[in-house]
């Protein structure tokens, strides 16, 4: 393999890892505050859809990214209401979001573009790649977000509040931290990043919208959270690892020698198998926040 190929693989990996890392970092913040959102997949999908719609109508991809982020945040608000204020079941709420997306997105595609199942994003609605490097500006933003989030969690008063709430909400409550509010901020932040990830999928990387667009990435992001031991910088590194399997699968598909032996369908299983193996291998090394997934109820 020559240098050119390696550079190309690296370039494609930046694309493959971006949605995983964005969603994972968001979920890290959410989970650090003690809330689990397994609806990432659904948020990605819904935001991917709205991003295409807004970018096409306005002709402005940046507005598309913003729309995806805002929709994600909005779903985060709903999940927060249910999880943090009404003390509902976080898993079921997340499942509902995923199923909702599975219905709404194909419905929306047909309602808006009058086609069944698949719509291609026109060039003017696409996020332009950076010149020279030919990578997405969203990737750079992602790196920035990873660093900023890491700093925020570990070096600011608010970050300390978030971590306290996820570890021992009672202790935080007693000293005057508004537990529900902090959890809501963290949940909305996480959902917004998942929304941005979805928008990136449709109007940046894959230039299309289908009901299978997210292809399990929301759940891979959940695995990545675990793998990264709730550390945003490790999520960035781990995301690169996960992203490479995706890129590798695509590369293998176009290598004639491989194509002849291994059918394309089977190569498609690669990222999922890799996720399973990695997660199974790394569990137990990591340590989740102590009060994760349970609503905080005052007596």
């Amino acid at each position: 393999m020559d240098i050119g190929a390696i550079v190309e693989i690296a370039r494609q990996t930046t694309y493959a890892m971006t949605p995983l890392v964005l969603a994972a970092i968001g979920e890290i913040v959410t989970e650090k505050a003690g809330v689990v959102n397994i609806g990432l997949e659904g948020i990605m999908l819904l935001s991917a859809f709205i991003a295409v719609y807004v970018a096409e109508v306005t002709g402005n991809p940046w507005l598309g990214l913003a729309a995806g982020t805002v929709l994600g945040a909005f779903i985060g608000v709903i999940h927060s209401m249910i999880s943090n204020y009404l003390k509902g079941d976080q898993i079921i709420s997340g499942l509902g979001v995923n199923l909702l997306a599975l219905g709404l997105v194909p419905f929306g595609i047909e309602a808006v573009w009058h086609v069944r199942g698949y719509h291609t994003v026109p060039p003017e609605a696409k996020v332009p790649a950076l010149p020279l490097l030919r990578i997405s500006p969203v990737f750079l933003l992602t790196v920035l977000i990873a660093v900023a989030t890491h700093y925020m969690l570990n070096n600011t008063g608010y970050g300390r509040k978030i971590r306290a709430v996820g570890e021992n909400p009672e202790a935080a409550d007693v000293v005057g931290v508004n537990v529900e509010l902090v959890q809501t901020v963290a949940t909305v932040y996480g959902a917004a990043l998942a929304g941005l990830a979805g928008a990136f999928l449709s109007i940046d990387w894959l230039s299309s919208i289908t009901k299978e667009l997210s292809a399990g990435r929301g759940f891979i992001a959940l695995a990545l959270v675990n793998f990264a031991n709730w550390n945003p910088l490790l999520a960035l590194a781990g995301g690169a690892l996960f992203g490479i399997t995706w890129t590798a699968a695509e590369w293998l598909k176009i290598i004639p020698e491989i194509k002849a032996v291994v059918p394309i369908s089977l190569l498609n299983t690669l990222p999922y198998i890799a996720t399973l193996v990695v997660v199974a291998g790394f569990i137990g090394v990591s340590r989740p926040p102590a009060h994760i997934g349970r609503p905080y109820k005052r007596e």
Binding site: G88, I91, I92, L99, L100, A111, A223, T269
Partner: protein, 353 residues
């Protein structure tokens, strides 16, 4: 005590009704935003599925409730063991694959069906057991692992469809289940086959298993308190694993029944289009049925009705089929809210007074 129990059940029932209404109402608004007439859509949907006397429509509703009854059992048994097994989708795929593998053999006629059932449920159980082992002995989050396994199953089955067992006469699907291996059609001209009978039997069996066998006792104890279960001489890991295996069998049977019991294809079609989604529908069914086998039967008929009625809705009101999934999503989100009814009541009385 009995009285209190009854009141509690009624309360739970009312709560589920509220969630259903919320599901329809919110989805109605979305339809309206999309430029459709929700009243017309719902009338067409329910009028061609549940609220009708037309035997054809009722038969179609029942036929669609069969697979999701199976997959609801998958989810419900998981919940009873304290896990969120959302892998029915993939377990159903491999179950269907098992049936197709049997269909591809040349066997004496009467052997097809029993072998398909055996193979399909075995493969389903195996697929479930992978997630089960990962959960019980490695601590891998089952939500993540089952979704990964769903995708792996999808591509593996898609691979067999394209490369291993394509139908020589129709490349868009696999080899068909031969005549003698098919489940009998219960109502001529409809898709209603003995699948529904099997589904109900398996659902009742799962009820018996959970509340009248030691294994069920141990599964439920584990789900409610794994530490107490271990104290009680139960191996909670093994109980969890069993729940995945039982769930996998149920989902595998869903797949088998779609191959052996759904005209006209009797095979897996392109992109698994004739299977896609039944696993996730099972989650809705289970949650609406309060994760109880006896609640699952009516819930499956209801959701089966949505699926059956979706066609009517599309023809009459032009609303895309998938809208019914959105309705389900909203229903589930509403079900996640505890004490929905109480909440509503205080809001209403506060607003009114």
């Amino acid at each position: 005590m009995e009285r209190q129990k009854l009141i509690e059940s009624l309360y739970r029932f009312a709560e589920i009704m509220v969630a259903l209404i919320a599901g329809f109402a919110i989805s109605g608004v979305i339809m309206w935003l999309g430029g459709y007439d929700p009243i017309k859509a719902y009338r067409a949907m329910l009028g061609t599925s549940i609220l009708t006397t037309d035997p054809y429509n009722l038969a179609m509703t029942l036929s669609f409730s069969a697979p999701i009854m199976f997959t609801a059992i998958t989810f419900a048994v998981g919940v009873r063991a304290g896990v969120f097994n959302i892998g029915a989708e993939g377990q159903m795929y491999v179950g269907a694959l098992g049936a197709v593998l049997v269909a591809a053999m040349s066997l004496p006629g009467p052997l097809y069906l029993p072998l398909a059932i055996l193979f399909g449920s075995l493969l389903g159980a195996l697929w479930g057991a992978i997630a089960g082992v990962l959960k019980a002995y490695k601590g891998v989050n089952e939500v993540v692992s089952t979704i990964m396994l769903n995708w792996i199953a999808f591509w593996v089955v898609e691979y067999t469809r394209v490369d291993l067992l394509p139908n020589p006469r129709d490349p868009s699907k696999t080899i068909e289940m031969p005549e003698p291996g098919r489940l009998p059609i219960l109502l001529k001209g409809t898709e209603l086959t003995a699948s529904i009978v099997l589904a109900v039997v398996v659902t009742l069996l799962s009820y018996y298993l959970l509340w009248h066998t030691v294994l069920g006792y141990e599964i439920r104890a584990t789900g409610m308190n794994p530490r107490a279960a271990r104290y009680g001489g139960i191996n909670p890991e093994r109980a969890v694993l069993w729940s995945f295996i039982i769930g996998g069998i149920a989902a595998g049977l869903a797949g088998v029944c779609e191959i052996a019991g759904r005209p006209p294809h009797y095979a897996i079609t392109t992109g698994l289009s004739n299977l896609f989604g039944y696993g996730f529908d099972g989650i809705t069914v289970s949650l609406i049925g309060a994760n109880h086998p006896l609640g699952i039967i009516p819930a499956a008929i209801f959701v089966g009705g949505l699926t059956a009625g979706a066609r009517g809705m599309q023809i009459v009101a032009g609303v895309p089929l998938e809208m019914v999934k959105a309705v389900q999503g909203v229903i589930i989100i509403a079900l996640a809210v505890p004490g929905l009814l109480r909440l509503l009541k205080t809001r209403l009385t506060r607003g009114g007074g």
